[in-house]
Amino acid sequence: MTETVTLRSPDAVKTEKVGSLSTVILVLLCACAFGFSLWAIHIGWQNSIINSFSFRQCQTAITARSIQEGGPLFAYETPVLGPPWSLPFEFPFYQGLVGWTARILALPLEQVGRLFSALFFYATLWPAWYCLSFLGINRCERIIVLALITLSPFYIFWSRAFMMESTAMFFCVSYLALVLWTLKTRVRYWPWLSIAVALTGSLAGSVKVTTYASFLLAGTFAILWAWWKEHHSGSRNLLSHVLLLIAACIVPFLLTTAWTHYADNIKSQSPMSAWLTSKALAAWNFGTLQQRLQFANYIHFGPVINSIIGNKLVFALIILGMVFVPKRRMYIMGSLGLWSSSILIFFNLHYVHSYYAYANGIFLVVALAFVIIGLYERNGGGRWTAACVLAFCMGAFIARYLIDFYNLQRIQFTGTGDVARVLTRATQSEDVLLIYGLDWSSELPYLAHRRAIMDRYDFALRPDLQFALSHLAPRKLGAVVVCGLTKNYPEQIHDRLASLSFNTEIYSSASDCDVYLPKK
C-alpha cells in the first residue's frame, strides 16, 4: 500500500491563512458594495423623471407612452414637432418593452421604465461575468470587478433613469461575451454562436450605436488577435475567423445602418424634423478635430470621471497601476483604450451630455478593477493591499454618490409640472400645444400629456411651421405656451396669437410660462 504525503512548510500554511482571511474580507466588501447599490438605486423610486437631463428622459418616456397607448412601434411617435409625429432615433426595444409591460400589467409607466433600466443594468453583470471568465479572471477576482461596477455612483444614478442606456449596455456586453465564447469554443457550437453574435451586435448597435462603437472595436480586436495568434502557431483556420468577423462586424454594421436609414427617412417626412437626420447631425455627434486638439476640453470630463470612479486620486491609482501592476498592465491599458475610444469617436456628444459616459464608463471601472486584481494576484501581502485599495475605492464611490446623486434622486423636482397641470385642465386630450422657448424638449408635452409643436426658433411663420400647422387636422391647436426669455417679445407674441385667432390675454402663468387659449 502506497501512501501519499503532501509536505507543506509552516510558512506556506501561514500564507494560506492570511490569504484566506484577506479573501473573506474582499468578498465581504463586495457583498457590501452590492447591498449599497441596491439600496441607493431605490432612493426616490417614486419621484418624477425630470431630475437630470429631463429633455432626454422625457423624450424616451413620451415615446414609451405612445407605444403603451397603442401607437406605432418602429415608426414610433415622439409628438413634439408636429405631424406626422414620428421621430425615431434608436431602435425601440426598451421603449416597446416598457410601453407594452405598462399596458399589459396596468402599471405606472415611469416606474416600469425605471425597473427595466435597473434590471438591464444588473443583468449586464451576467455577460460581464462570462467576459471576465474568457479573459482568464478567476471567480473571486470577477466578483471584485462586478462589485465595483454596481457601486459606481454614475451607474447607480443613470441605471434608474428612464433611458435605454442600460439596455444598450446589456446587449453590448452580451455581444462581447458571445464573441469571446465563439472564439473559445468555435468548433462545436460555431454556427449558432455566430448567429447569436450577429443578432446581439445588431440589436446593440440599433438600440444605441454610440454605446456599441467601443464594443465593436473590442470584438473586432479580439477576433483579429485570435486569428493572429493562430496564424503564428501554424494553424490555417482563416475561414472561421472571416465568417466570425462578418457576423460580429459586418452584419451589425449593415443592420444598424439600415435602421438609421429607415429612421432618417421618417424624419425627413416633415420639414420640422428634417434637421434631426443622422446626416444633419453628423457634426453634432462627432464634433470637430479642433475640439479634440484643445487640451482644455479634456478637463471638462473631470467631473464625469469623478462621478464614475469617485475622485481623481482613484484615477491616479489606475495610472499608477499601469506601472506597478505589470501582470495586468495590458488589461488596464486595453480598458483605458476602450474607454477613451468612445470619447474620441463621439467627442461632442460626450462633451455636451454627461450621461453618454454610460457607454464607456464601464471600461474605466474595469481598468480600476484590473489594478486591484493585479494586486490580489500577488498573494499574501498583495491580497491585503488589494483589500485596502478596494476599501479606499468603495469609500470614494459611496462618498461621491452621497455628494452628487443622493439629493438628485431624493428631491421631487417639478420642472414645468405646474404649467403642465394648467394645460391638462384647459385643453382637450386631442388638442395640440404650440410651445415657444423650451427648445424641443419633450418635458412639457409629456407632463401635460399633449402633442405639441415646439418652435425652437422665433415667432416667424416659417415654411416648416406652416407645414406643421396645416397638417394638424383632425386635431386642432389647443393652446399657445410662451416660456422663459421668449416672453420678452410681446409684439411678436401678439402678432402670432392674432394670426392664429387666439386671445392675446394671458389665460394663466406658471413655471415661467404664459398660456394663451383660442378665441371662443
Binding site: L29, W284, N306, W384, M394, A399, I403, L408, Y436
Partner: protein, 159 residues
C-alpha cells in the same frame, strides 16, 4: 498580525471617502455639468458676445492720438454656423478687421456649446483722424454662412 491588518480596511474606506469630500468646493460646477445647467442662449438672438475691454460700461473714453485695443468674444448661436469675420466700425468708418479667433473654453463651457469655443478676439486700431467728441463704436460680425449681426454698440468719447 492579519487581524491587525484587517483594521486597515475601515481606515482605507474612510480615507477614500475623505479624499472625495475634500474638494467639495467643486460641487456647484459638478452639479452644473451633471444637471446640464448652462447659460441659455437668449431666444431669437443670432449673435452673442461681449467687448471685455470695457467691462460693463457703455462709454469708453480715450485720447485722440492713442491706439485702442479691444478684446472680447462673439458667437453665432445657430449650430454649424461659426463666426468668420469681425469688423470694427466707428461712426460707420471701418477701423479694424478680425479673422483669427482664439480659444475661449470658458464661453463654450458656460453655454454648454463646444462650437462656441473659437470665439475670442483681439483688435487694435489707431484713432488718428478721428475728431474729438462722442462717436459710436460698433462690432459687426459675419458668420461662415453669411449671417451678420452686431454687438451692442459703445460710445467712444475721444478727447
Amino acid at each position: 498580525m492579519q487581524y491587525l491588518r484587517a483594521l486597515l480596511i475601515p481606515i482605507f474606506f474612510l480615507a477614500g471617502a475623505w479624499s472625495t469630500l475634500l474638494p467639495h468646493h467643486n460641487e456647484a460646477q459638478v452639479l452644473q455639468i451633471l444637471r446640464h445647467e448652462h447659460l441659455q442662449v437668449p431666444f431669437g438672438q443670432l449673435v452673442l458676445g461681449n467687448i471685455e475691454t470695457t467691462g460693463n460700461v457703455s462709454e469708453l473714453s480715450t485720447k485722440r492720438e492713442s491706439k485702442i485695443v479691444l478684446a472680447g468674444w462673439t458667437v453665432f448661436t445657430q449650430l454649424h454656423d461659426p463666426i468668420q469675420q469681425l469688423d470694427i466700425l466707428v461712426d460707420g468708418r471701418h477701423m479694424a478687421q478680425v479673422q483669427d479667433f482664439s480659444s475661449r473654453p470658458d464661453v463654450a463651457d458656460a453655454y454648454g456649446r463646444p462650437d462656441f469655443e473659437a470665439s475670442g478676439w483681439l483688435a487694435s486700431f489707431s484713432l488718428l483722424g478721428t475728431m474729438p467728441g462722442k462717436h459710436v463704436l460698433l462690432v459687426h460680425a459675419t458668420s461662415q454662412n453669411g449671417n451678420t449681426g452686431d454687438l451692442p454698440s459703445l460710445i467712444l468719447n475721444v478727447q
